[in-house]
Amino acid sequence: MEKERHDAAGPAGGTARLRCAGASKRFGGEPVLERVSLEVYGGEIHALVGLNGAGKTTLMRLFLGMLRPDGGSVLVAGREPSMLSSDERAGVGYLLEHPLAYPELTVLQNLTLAGRLAGLRPERARTAALELIEEFALMKWAGTQGRRLSLGNKQRLGLAAALTASPDTIILDEPTNALDPAGVMIVRRMLLDRAHTRGAAVLVSSHHLDEVARVADRISVLNAGRIIGGLAPDAMDLERRFFDMIYADSGIGQ
């Protein structure tokens, strides 16, 4: 059922919400990304899997306009990130590295603030914050300041903050970082709901084939700044095949 929905919304079904073509980026002369091409369509979860330092976060930073590519193109909703209008920017929810968790504000205040930044009116921002507090099981900490939250709860807060304006494009860098198994299940459920029920385009990264990568519709493997292939999510022995690809690309014996 989910597979059919993905196909309908896939390459034949419409324009990619996220698309990069031949994107390259160098830091101090060192290539970090080399001619990376990738597309994410509405209704699908696209997992980007690679070891630490493979370039996953850099690629996501390009999509969010935090960095500019040295070559190739990076488009969000068909436009360069810096050219998006205010309303188009509101349609992109993301969590990269640091969660939106101001230490002096409570969980509820942080989420309300995230809603205002995403363009929601005050009352709507508060309602969205309360709904997300429930979805991410943060009820017990709604009145707790950011500085007093555990790493796991900060991560839940950051994930919730990314979703306040019901974005149709979601970019999450290692979303299960610091989460306990219950938190991982919440993220997994959330991803399936946002992509497969609400039609959002989801790009999610992971350094291993965790529970989140396993719910993806497509898996791209990134190694040393290059996409070296894809993995079929429903294939057997996914972990072994992932490492086979990495080792083969790196020229390392198993």
Partner: protein
């Protein structure tokens, strides 16, 4: 969202953070209460047991009275204002980098330029409120401690306005700290900039550049007895306006073009 809507939302968001920020609270107390306390202490040291302190205080305050009291307060506020407003300005901008929250301001419906503009507007409004509150507490301290003179002295209104302007001017001169925090990606860079500004202001006064170095102008104006409103001084103090505007403009441009490498 319209540009106006973005600025409105940015002001609401920034105000939520600003009013709970410890550096803002500490600096407000430091300036509103600290400057009057230091001024009264300076006057009291004129007749204190320590002759070294008495000589030093006499060099600033002179014979005392409301004139001396305001010269002392203005001199303290010219440095204290730069330090206090500089630290808060640098913190408000730099904390987004230090806390890692700046990433959340990319691709938000509220543009980064609107966020930076809201920060600048809040800082200026807060600084003006602090300057007004400080002026009130200073006059009250002078009256209640009896260190300045009686309430009927006709020079009080003029000196009060002059003191208010000196303190408010330092807020404009502290705006480069916003740019320093942005370029340095954190508030430590801004604190370094505040220290550099204060040291350079002292050096400028010593080498004879005087009030033509804008950061030194409020302090030198404060040291002049009475209103001290000759044309040169007025121009020197007014240089803080283009300097503050330039710092604000550069900060807005940097936030608009921001990349996180």
């Amino acid at each position: 969202m319209t540009g106006r809507g973005q600025l409105g939302a940015a002001l609401a968001v920034e105000w939520l953070k600003f009013r709970r920020a410890r550096p803002v609270m500490f600096t407000s107390v430091f300036l509103v209460l600290g400057v009057p306390v230091m001024t009264v202490a300076s006057v009291l040291s004129l007749e204190g047991a320590n002759p070294l302190l008495a000589v030093k205080a006499e060099g600033v305050i002179g014979a005392g009275g409301w004139e001396g009291f305001f010269v002392g307060a203005g001199t303290i506020s010219a440095v204290g204002g730069l330090l206090g407003f500089g630290v808060v300005t640098g913190w408000v901008f730099g904390r987004e980098f230090t806390d890692g929250t700046v990433g959340s301001l990319f691709l938000a419906a509220v543009s980064r330029t609107a966020t930076a503009a809201a920060k600048l507007l809040l800082i200026l409004a807060w600084a003006l409120a602090v300057a007004v509150a400080l002026t009130f507490t200073l006059v009250a301290a002078g009256l209640l401690s009896g260190t300045a003179g009686g309430p009927g002295d006709p020079v009080i209104p003029v000196l009060t306005v002059k003191f208010l302007l000196i303190t408010a001017t330092t807020a404009l001169l502290a705006l480069p700290c916003a740019w320093a925090a942005t370029l340095g990606r954190g508030y430590l860079a801004a604190i370094g900039a505040v220290i550099a500004i204060v040291v350079l202001a002292q050096l400028a006064a010593m080498v004879g550049l005087g009030g033509w170095f804008p950061f030194a102008a409020p302090g030198l104006w404060a040291s002049q007895r009475g209103a001290g409103t000759d044309a040169t001084t007025a121009v020197q103090v007014l240089l803080s306006l283009p300097l503050g505007a330039l710092a604000a403009g550069l900060t807005l441009r940097s936030w608009h073009r921001l990349v996180l490498s």
